[in-house]
Subunit: 286 residues, 2 copies
């Protein structure tokens, strides 16, 4: 793919290779910003409005004004997608508070920074789907507002690094009582006594849009859904899966180098994945 | 001051106004970086080696390789200072993991980003020294590695914002038992029964170089120093001060809109400040 990639940066579409922001952008110096990642399949954006609504909530939570109306951002997302060569794409939106001489307290009225990129959607390989994901657990070291989709992601980077050092794919954060909260870049769900169980939304968990989609798929097919704190080793726990924009749900086959049940992708996990993909296909045909 | 400010960015000295980094710099998208702020008075850097040593420790803690030897960074700091018009300056160093297509897990060998700027050293006004600082307290919402001087500073930005909304200058973080940990951009020290008391260094507190300097000044003048957890409202608490690179120590006269003791700058606080400034002056003459 030799076509030049294009990025949107503060009003302009420019070659990604030349896309820069000022070194005193508060996103660069203070992690003072928020983001979204949206999947697009052949021109159909998955839950675009839900992502835009969350973008707005994130901005409100950190008191960054929206750089423009949500409808304009939607147009820019589409335009960025169209200027790039990928049919199945991962569109990334980032908003920061803007550029100012470095000082913790934002001074005066700043112009928020808006960048949008569109890159190829990474998809799980058949081999990974067959073998399942290996995860580790780590004590939660993150801040206390994980419900905000902020760019202050260093803890998650370190978690991913630790997972990689242990030859695992993802790390799941544990609260003080060892409940599984979420992953570094995923939500985590389990099948316990046949029900789909996942941690309730609070300050420790991002309200994942794919998490919602998995819950919706389960509900529509009469699976019981329980939003409650849960742990590894609970009696009746037979499957674990993780959800994210780029992966729908993926089966977790090993946690901390121990097999989950028989170490094979869970039957209900793969069923929920199938329902989700069917729902996406229906959306594409509409 | 109409002289063009100069920044160092990855090997080049360029006008600050044109100083940019790529939008896929991991510092911008993941807060995947660390920083230092060093004060310089008329060409004398305050504790430069201590800052450089901490820079190295921060890099090690997040597994970012140093972009070059510490001695080279020291040279670049001096050159950046010299190319800018400020005699008393605040030199800012930031290192990030580098540029890569966005993915939580750093892929392959990246070239770390190094930027250095030199801006005018902000100094407390006589009026502020006379009236003292107003602080508020907030429950700690930060991550669990505050001993690392990382750029994942959004929690501190929100703390400073909340302080400003309450017409205060700084916010101090409280642990679960209401011990005072540190401020958003400062360490906090108190005088209790005549001793200088400050929270011990652990994962909740940055090892401030100016905090060290205050402790050193107190020790050299035979003041008792206690590194222990402490609270507002302890019997014998007569003064509170905060320390930072740009402020030495500053008296805190109001906390949560209530006067500390008689609401005047503390006598020992101002004495320690004087000792610190004398120590700096001695350094400059050497």
């Amino acid at each position: 793919m030799s076509q030049t990639l294009i990025a949107y940066v503060n009003g302009d579409f420019i070659p990604l290779q030349n896309a820069t922001i000022h070194i005193e952008d508060r996103g660069f110096q203070f992690a003072d910003g928020i983001y979204e990642v949206i999947a697009c399949f052949g021109g159909t954006f998955l839950d675009l409005q839900a992502h835009l609504n969350r973008l707005q909530r994130s901005c409100e939570a950190v008191r960054i004004p929206l750089p423009c109306a949500l409808s304009e951002i939607a147009t820019l997302v589409l335009q960025t997608y169209e200027r790039n060569p990928y049919s199945d794409a991962m569109v990334y939106i980032q908003i920061t508070r803007g550029v100012a001489p470095r000082s913790h307290l934002p001074q005066g009225e700043l112009k928020p920074t808006l960048i949008i990129t569109s890159r190829q959607l990474p998809k799980p390989t058949d081999a990974k789907l067959a073998s399942g994901v290996h995860a580790i657990t780590l004590k939660d070291i993150r801040w206390k507002h994980c419900e905000i989709k902020s760019i202050a992601l260093l803890a998650s980077v370190l978690g991913k690094q630790e997972a990689a050092l242990q030859q695992a794919d993802e790390a799941f954060w544990l609260d003080e009582e060892d409940h599984i909260l979420e992953g570094c870049a995923t939500n985590v769900l389990a099948i316990i006594h046949g029900a789909l169980v996942t941690h309730p939304l609070d300050h420790q968990v991002l309200g994942g849009i794919t998490r919602d989609m998995a819950i919706r798929a389960a509900c529509e097919h009469s699976l019981t859904v329980e939003e409650r704190a849960w742990k590894l080793g609970e009696t009746g726990l037979t499957e674990i899966m993780m959800s994210s924009t780029t992966n729908a749900v993926m089966p977790i086959c090993f946690i901390n180098h121990q097999a989950v049940a028989d170490g094979e992708p869970g039957v209900l996990t793969m069923q929920i994945r199938k329902w989700m993909i069917e729902a996406m296909d229906t959306l594409r045909r509409e």
